[in-house]
Amino acid sequence: MDFHIERAKVLPKSNLAKFLEGLKNLSTLIAPVKKGDKFIFSEIEKVSDVAVNYTRTILPPKKFLVPYRRERFSYSTDTLQFNKEFKVRDQIIFGVHSCDLHGISILDSVYLKENPDPRYLEIRKRTVLIGISCMPDEFCFCLSTGTAFPDGANWDLFLTDIGADYFVTIGSPKGDEIVLKLRKLFKDIEKKDLYLYKESTSKKKKAFKLEKLPDLERISQLIELEYDSEVWKEGSERCLGCGTCTNVCPTCFCYTSVDVPTLDGKKVKRIEFTTSCQYPYYSLVAGGHYFKPDRASRFKHRYYHKFVGYPYQIEKLGCVGCGRCSAECPAGISIVETINRLRGIDEKELREATEQASSR
């Protein structure tokens, strides 16, 4: 293999299809495609299906790292011999936005730091993440959560749109290898490319409507102090408890496991399925006691976990500002609105606070 060291390359947009084709030849390719009026991450058969300019997918790429329904293992009923049957494949997830990359970072912390989960680790090891830059819509608030841009690389490649080309930053040896394999498609960076790359940052920042962004400074303390706020009750009156907000969230990880016997009674499978803190049974223990007895307590819990729990556990906010929970909520409840109401801050103050945040 050639010795190859490079920090970044340029991929002309006209080469994108070939690039994708190349990725597809390397391993299973997963990328956003259009479904109805929305987008979803899906395994790609035809690279022409790939939608590069999407705002957000219904479900985050999380589903390819932590499948929504998965088998932990199976065991035989007579001798209780345990047997792991799950298979891991190589996969490339293309077109991940910055917020989702941050979401994956959070999952990494949850699954790999304390009591690491070997299944997640194995999947994660064999996954290549290729990010892509994006422009915000009215639901995005990643600028507030500090996740608008990919940080110190938990990705392998990141494509930034600089007009006619993509500016491709290389984040890992795996990413480097891909570039090397497909190097005919790339150009070397020139000064103007670097300039455009830098410019893209401020371009994205400017696309946010600052007055709409929530102020997340000291949000942990705020939420703790506002434990008895009316805002929770008001929100919960509209909340359907349908779990959509957690199911679409790139950082939520709760699951329930059930043992499912086969019809012949010889084998039992332990199935884990994604669940939500918004479901009453989630906190139900023996004796019929609900630890989160009413909708208000469940509604509040999500905010509590995102903004107090995650910082306590993994030292990061549990929200990456992707806006999915607000965009998908059937009742139209918006996380930003709830936070703003909790903060009770007036518009002007809010703007100043976020302007400061963005100029940092």
Partner: protein
């Protein structure tokens, strides 16, 4: 051999058909169970000494009542299958609106029906029910899982979470947001959200999930073009005797507005 029975009361037989649709699973099942009572599919039927009895349909006639009581007596476990057996079915949606005599008169005229009838009732209103597998019809996977669990001596586990769960995880565009009436948020999941996946709103055939928020549901439906009255009727279709839980937020205001 575990002895099972499948009984039909007043209903459309759709659930029993779904059981027959289990095909492969059914053949596997037959290695461990003997079907002692299944009039829809076999000749020799004995309603005696059963381990599990599955009951489809609502209790509507005197005969239904007698049959299901006998069934309860002879079976250790009784599982209500389908929304008729669990809640009363579509036929009970107007139980609170009109009297029985009125219904009989409207459909059969002065002569009336030749059998003794009551308002359609859920099986649990007549005898004790161990498990309920709602749905119109019941879900095949749930049926197989229930049988497999019971054969292993374990109770099946069905958290009463809303259809939105399965709908969202199938990555459907939310129909409510698209303006199509959907009962997903207040309906007990387990069906795999086939209706919303086909673009039809959930019709609520599986009954209530835990602590449904009907106030908000009704208000969402009214924002999507239904009158409060129609919204409540829409919600009532499959909810049978549980329909009385449907609450409407500030009815007066909404009508006034």
């Amino acid at each position: 051999m575990v002895r099972i029975g499948i009984m039909g009361l007043t209903g459309c037989s759709g659930c029993q058909c779904e059981i027959l649709n289990c095909q492969e699973a059914l053949l596997k099942m037959l290695k461990r169970v003997s079907i002692n009572f299944f009039p829809l599919a076999q000749d020799d039927n004995s309603l005696e000494d059963l381990d599990i009895l599955f009951v489809e349909g609502s209790v509507t006639t005197e005969e239904d009542e007698r049959k299901v009581k006998k069934g309860r007596e002879v079976s250790s476990l009784l599982v209500a299958i389908g929304s008729c057996a669990c809640y009363g079915g579509v036929q009970s949606q107007r139980n609170d609106e009109v009297s029985l005599t009125e219904m009989v008169k409207a459909v059969y005229g002065e002569k009336g029906v030749p059998v003794k009838v009551s308002k359609p009732r859920a099986v649990s209103e007549v005898v004790e029910v161990d498990y309920e597998l709602p749905g119109c019809p019941l879900d095949k996977k749930q049926f197989v899982y229930t049988v497999a669990s019971l054969l292993s001596g374990v109770k099946p586990f069905f958290p009463k979470i809303p259809v939105c769960h399965e709908c969202k995880l199938s990555e459907n565009e939310c129909l409510i947001l698209k303006g199509i009436p959907c009962q997903g948020p207040v309906t007990f999941s387990g069906c795999g959200a086939p209706c919303t996946s086909a673009g039809v709103g959930c019709q609520g055939c599986r009954g209530n999930c835990d602590f449904p928020n009907f106030e908000e549901m009704v208000s969402l439906l009214t924002q999507r073009g239904l009158s409060v009255e129609d919204a409540v009727k829409f919600l009532k279709v499959f909810r049978g005797y549980t329909a009385k839980e449907i609450k409407v937020r500030g009815v007066v205001d909404e009508k006034g507005a």
